[in-house]
Amino acid sequence: MADEIILLDFWPSMFGMKVRIALAEKGLKYEYRDEDLFNKGPLLLEMNPIHKKIPVLIHNGKPICESQIIVQYIDEVWKDKSPLLPSDPYHRAQARFWADYIDKKLHLLGQRLWRTKGEEQEANKEYIECLKLLEGELGDKPYFGGENFGFVDVNLMPYFSWLYVFEIAANFSIEAECPKLITWAKRCMEKESVSTSLPDRQKLYDFFLQLKKWHGIE
């Protein structure tokens, strides 16, 4: 019996992007549904009644919520192709640690870059410090996963899709500060699973301008 996979998503969402990349890495066919977050559909509310948020993966009628949990689920079910987590428990723990760090720190700091007036300098500095820490973790490896694109790579790439927007909005560039990460991001973008899962930069930037308006920020 063929698998039925539906992804409830919102195209600019970094969390949704992670799931799209994971599904593409596994070569999976699925139905993509863009949700109107101001007018949430009944399926979203039924499948994620607690948080009412995207992304939600629906596999043969059963929902899985929370992007990192979804990516691990995808990796466990379709384990024979392009494994995202390593097999050794210690390396798995390290991968989970960095993915969690990315969600905890980068996400919050990214928001501060454009939402808080008067704190831009400090927000920029902290953001770059975080990226530098990640760059240290990457070291000389082609991917965070080592020779192969892996769990941490999946988790970090979506932020790079937004980085273009942040750099313009917060008037800073990470090129000089984190050259290895820039090289890493370019390498990842060469993968079809990544380039087809991330939105067009200009489209994202236009969305960001709209987002600022909604938040009443100039």
Partner: protein, 230 residues
């Protein structure tokens, strides 16, 4: 360096998760108690990113973040599994553990560090979150089913800390009538053989958390005063 070490504090509910998991698996380990006002060079070396406890060190390699530690323990010592085998059930277990930390803990903490009208308002989301847990327990003794599992360990702090926080603020949060299943689970979990011998001393906990509440309220008041006088 061979063997298992656990860096913890006497009171950390997050560290207890690792203690329980190691006990369930019957793993011998060495405990290193940390004084967070004077962190040891070892802790700073093993957890340079957050400098927090718990940290598990296995054969010289450190693992930080309590839920990540639980998964590591489960994957390294495969007997007495904490997570179910089925991928969808595993995803569901991870979901509830995350819900516990992201929502239940933060909303209950919010009630604890507030007072008056603000505290009343903070009760609303806290009770909503507890209701979700109550629903999830329908037809089960533990969140893991018949036996204690991953979600029970993740939410286990409720079995001890709730009554301590309730005593300090003089407020009943987990009412036995409103939350019969959750109340029963809290009792069953707290009294379970592996769990009950590891709770920190109650009188010390009351002193500690009372001081924490007082300090947090004082800091909030000072910040509010500074904001209005600008």
């Amino acid at each position: 360096m061979v063997g298992v070490k656990l860096f913890r504090t006497w009171s950390s509910p997050f560290a207890l998760r690792a203690v329980w998991a190691l006990k369930i698996k019957g793993i011998d380990y060495e405990t290193i108690f940390e004084d967070l006002s004077n962190k040891s060079p070892s802790l700073l070396q093993y957890n340079p990113v957050y400098k927090k406890v718990p940290v598990l060190v296995h054969n010289g390699k450190p693992i930080a973040e309590s839920l990540i530690i639980l998964e590591y323990i489960d994957e390294t010592w495969k007997h007495a599994p904490l997570l179910p085998e089925d991928p969808h059930e595993r995803a569901t277990a991870r979901f509830w553990a995350k819900f516990g930390d992201d929502k239940v803990l933060t909303s209950i903490w919010s009630v604890f560090i507030k007072q008056g009208k603000e505290q009343e308002e903070a009760m609303v989301p806290a009770l909503e979150n507890l209701k979700f847990l109550e629903e999830e327990l329908k037809g089960k003794k533990f969140f893991g089913g018949e036996t204690i599992g991953f979600v029970d360990l993740a939410l286990g702090w409720l079995g001890n800390l709730i009554s301590i926080l309730e005593e300090i603020v003089g407020l009943k949060v987990v009412d036995g009538e409103k939350f019969p299943l959750l109340s029963a689970w809290m009792q069953d979990f707290a009294d379970a053989p592996i769990i009950k011998d590891n709770w920190p001393p109650r009188d010390r906990m009351i002193v500690k958390f009372q001081a924490l509440r007082d300090a947090t309220i004082a800091a909030a008041a000072a910040a509010a005063a500074a904001a209005t006088s600008k």
